[in-house]
């Protein structure tokens, strides 16, 4: 590259060229500040950029070096290996055929306008137009055809660009952000998450990303898990279908009114639904969720449909295979159906009992006879007067806890490893807490499990450990900070830090740390 001597390359030439380029500007500012909105857009044109004035292209250099062959020219000759170098030195210079001159541009713009006028007229339905106009238009079209289709397209595009520039002159800066297009933000990030160099992204495992820490909510999750698992157990279904991976469905409102407690033999639990319909609803939803996750039926249909082109024998074989796979799900469905039937029977029985009770003037909620803790109270109820029972029920409604937990709920046994696993897995899925093996091993009852999962996690910092205790609040001479008290803090406390900082700055010394 050749250095341009200052005498040859005065700043005036720059100013002249830029002034020429922006002669239409109403208020030429200082050289540096000519870039206001519209001027900036125009000056994007490479030839009109002030930088172009400093260009080292041969055209400029040629002028400066007085006929001597410029270096770039020599280089080009060497590259092509001939004195007669094809092509231009700078394909983007003003006089390049790549560019359309200002006159041509004006001409083309006029043609564009005429064409638009024509279209408008056509739209209005006027088919007749003057001969002059016709010749003009055809001449313009011929000229365009001469220049080649690509050039024409480019020219038209450029025209549009210039026109859009003209529109943009009416630009008004916004003073508030209302109604402006918004870029970025969380939604944007989510949308472009896949843009990660095309790699696989690990977003979520089996557990939900947020953990439940509230004790009441934890208890409700445990209750839900227990109800689901023991209902499945009583229906004779696989208990782990409650916790198949997938989206967690919303907790039904009646779940709070499902009572759970230890069974008579203390080996299992008794689940009491206020309305037996809820039981079938629960089973239904669990089975549906399981099927959605695995979806053997859908896959069966799909696979058979896709195999239609195959020979009949092969297709039949395939069907049998798939049917064998699906048979398990069907068996599950059958079981569910059976359980529903039994529920219906139970409901009928209960209905009969209730009728009998109402005939005797007693109110009765749906209760199963095998609940250990309920036995004695039930005996009381049958002998108690109706008003007492009503009072009892009012108490019940005030305390949701009593609705969902029987008296000795903490003693519900988890000795059966299958039950334990199903409960623990569902609790993990509902709460987001990973329950370690040692807890699973040591929890023999539901109460113990609840104690372990509702334990406060070990505090990571000292402040977290001592802040809840009111012991230090009473002490006048003790203050608690959430970080180390530094010498700067001590200076700040006595109001000396500002002085120190000023003095340090005055001397040009680093305020904190060292440089």
């Amino acid at each position: 590259m050749r250095r341009i001597r200052p005498s040859q390359q005065s700043i005036d030439s720059l100013s002249l060229s830029t002034r020429h380029a922006h002669s239409r500007l109403s208020s030429p500012l200082c050289y540096a500040c000519q870039f206001h909105s519209s001027a900036l857009a125009k000056s994007r044109h490479p030839s009109s950029l002030p930088v172009a004035a400093f260009s080292t292209s041969s055209a400029r250099l040629h002028r400066g070096t007085g006929g001597k062959e410029p270096f770039t020219e020599k280089l080009r000759k060497k590259i092509w290996g001939t004195d007669d170098v094809p092509g231009r030195v700078d394909p983007y210079s003003h006089d390049s055929p790549m560019r359309v001159t200002a006159e041509e541009r004006r001409e083309l713009a006029e043609q564009g306008r005429k064409r638009a006028k024509e279209e408008r007229r056509l739209a209005r339905g006027e088919e007749s137009f003057s001969a002059d106009e016709l010749t003009e238009v055809t001449a313009g079209a011929q000229e365009l055809a001469k220049k080649g289709r690509s050039t024409a397209r480019r020219v038209v595009e450029e025209n549009e660009w210039w026109e859009s520039l003209g529109k943009r002159k009416e630009y008004e800066p916004a003073h508030t952000w209302d109604g402006l297009e918004r870029v970025g933000g969380k939604a944007w990030v989510d949308e472009f998450k896949d843009w990660k160099r095309g790699r696989v992204v690990f977003e979520q495992g089996y557990l939900p990303l947020t953990k439940i820490t509230d004790s009441t909510e934890l208890k409700r999750s445990l209750h839900r898990a227990l109800v689901e698992v023991f209902t499945l157990q009583q229906a004779g279904l696989d208990m782990t279908i409650a916790s198949v991976p997938g989206e967690i469905q919303a907790r039904p409102g009646w779940m709070d009114r499902v009572k759970i407690g230890p069974s008579n033999d203390n080996a299992s639990a008794a689940v009491i639904f206020q309305d037996p319909a809820h039981k079938s609803e629960l089973l239904d939803s669990l089975i549906r969720r399981f099927e959605q996750q695995d979806d053997p039926e859908r896959s069966l249909e799909e696979r058979v449909a896709t195999e239609e082109d195959y020979e009949n024998g092969a297709a039949e074989e395939l069907y049998e295979e798939v049917a064998a796979e699906a048979s398990e799900a069907e068996a599950l469905k059958d079981l569910a159906h059976e359980s529903q039937q039994s529920i219906a029977e139970l409901r009928e029985d209960l209905g009969a009992v209730r009728e009998a009770m109402t005939a005797r003037g007693l109110n009765m909620t749906a209760e199963e006879p095998n609940l250990a803790s309920e036995k004695s109270r039930k005996g009381d109820e049958t002998t108690a007067s109706p008003s007492d029972v009503e009072a009892n029920q009012q108490k019940k409604s005030t305390k949701k806890q009593e609705d969902s937990w029987a008296k000795d709920w903490k003693t519900i046994s988890l000795e059966d490893p299958n039950v334990k696993f199903a409960v623990v897995k569902r609790v993990m899925q509902l709460t987001g807490h990973r329950i370690p093996d040692i807890v699973i091993q040591e929890c023999k009852t539901v109460g113990r499990l609840f104690d372990r999962i509702s334990e406060r996690p070990k505090p990571k910092k000292l402040i977290e450990a001592i802040q809840p205790s009111a012991k230090f609040k009473e002490l006048a001479n003790v203050k608690i900070y959430n970080r180390r008290v530094t010498p700067v803090d001590k200076e700040k406390e006595v109001g000396r830090w500002k002085v120190i900082e000023y003095a340090l700055r005055e001397r040009g010394l680093p305020v904190v740390g060292h440089e």
Binding site: R197, R199, Q204, Y206, D437, I440
Partner: protein, 307 residues
């Protein structure tokens, strides 16, 4: 012979039980104070109110109808449950039992310490080396006469006293390894794993532990999701097969060293098991370790020269 070895702990229990019954009799006979202390700490004495109400009844009873006591704690459960997880979602798949002599041992710091020292000694390269005067290159000629020069006596130029001479008492390559009985070392392995189990820091993967992607970012995301990463004290991943069988896992972890490390069962040692925040291990790898390190539990006759 076999029955003798089995009955050893049981003999202890029966002994304890007999002691307990003796002490009950003693309480029944004295009936005056509550100061009598049972020899066992776990048993509960019969309610004193009953004893004071009916002293004669207790005095005359020859056999105490004591109900069968629960299993004493020294024996504890014979097997313990572990959860097998899928990978990478970490869905609990099922419970799997292991003998408590393998994953439920008491934490013995002394044994862990001995194992770590043993490993540390064994891994020392011991290659530090210096030259003694005889090994210094050059002539062994006497530099000047013994006497008569007025200067100090001097032998060869390799003397440790001279610059460029040999090093007196300098290090020579040697073996630093110390010895540890194999049974203790094997106990240390199982103690280390048991410690992890007891702390809830042992995650067992059912099947292969392999990433879907070889990028370290994927590893970082996975570690963050499961709470395994730098914030949570890093993790050790243990595979049962060689590196070539888990290309993505090893490639990803090479760039995600701040979040954890990955080793094969052949590479890992007791110290590695205790270092990171948790151990994530393939089931096959865990069982390989347990099987290899149970010499104190099984009787094997080792023939010299054969493995």
């Amino acid at each position: 012979m076999a029955s003798k070895s089995i009955s050893n702990p049981l003999r202890g229990i029966t002994f304890q039980l007999s002691r307990a019954t003796i002490s009950h009799n003693a309480i029944a006979k004295t009936t005056t104070t509550h100061l009598t202390r049972s020899l066992t700490t776990t048993t509960s004495s019969p309610p004193s109110s009953l004893l004071s109400t009916y002293p004669s009844a207790n005095l005359t009873t020859s056999t105490t109808p004591t109900p069968l006591r629960p299993t004493p704690s020294p024996i504890g459960p014979q097997t313990i449950l572990t959860t097998l997880h899928s990978f990478p979602t970490l869905e609990p798949l099922r419970l799997h039992p292991y003998p408590s002599s393998h994953l439920y041992l008491p934490t013995r710091r002394d044994i862990l310490h001995r194992a770590i020292i043993y490993e540390g000694d064994r891994t020392r390269s011991g290659t530090a080396s210096t030259k003694w005067r005889s090994e210094i290159h050059g002539s062994k000629r006497k530099l000047r006469p013994q006497k008569g020069t007025g200067m100090a006596r001097l032998g060869s130029r390799g003397s440790p006293m001279l610059k460029g001479g040999g090093v007196a008492f300098g290090p020579k390559p040697r073996d630093f390894s110390t010895k540890l009985p194999r049974k203790i070392y094997d106990l240390a392995w199982r103690t280390a794993l048991s410690y992890r189990y007891r702390k809830g820091e042992l995650v067992i993967i059912d099947g292969e532990m392999e990433f879907e992607d070889p990028s370290p970012r994927y590893a970082a995301e996975l570690f963050a999701t499961h709470g395994w990463g730098h914030e949570d004290g890093r993790s050790l991943l243990l595979t049962g097969v060689e590196k070539a069988a888990r290309p993505n896992l090893y490639a990803a972890m090479e760039g995600a060293g701040e979040h954890g490390r990955v080793l094969t069962v052949q590479e890992v040692d007791v110290k590695d098991l205790l270092e990171c925040g948790r151990v994530v291990v393939e089931r096959a790898a865990l069982e390989w370790i347990l099987e290899e390190h149970q010499s104190d539990l099984v009787k094997t006759r080792r023939v010299a020269g054969l493995e």
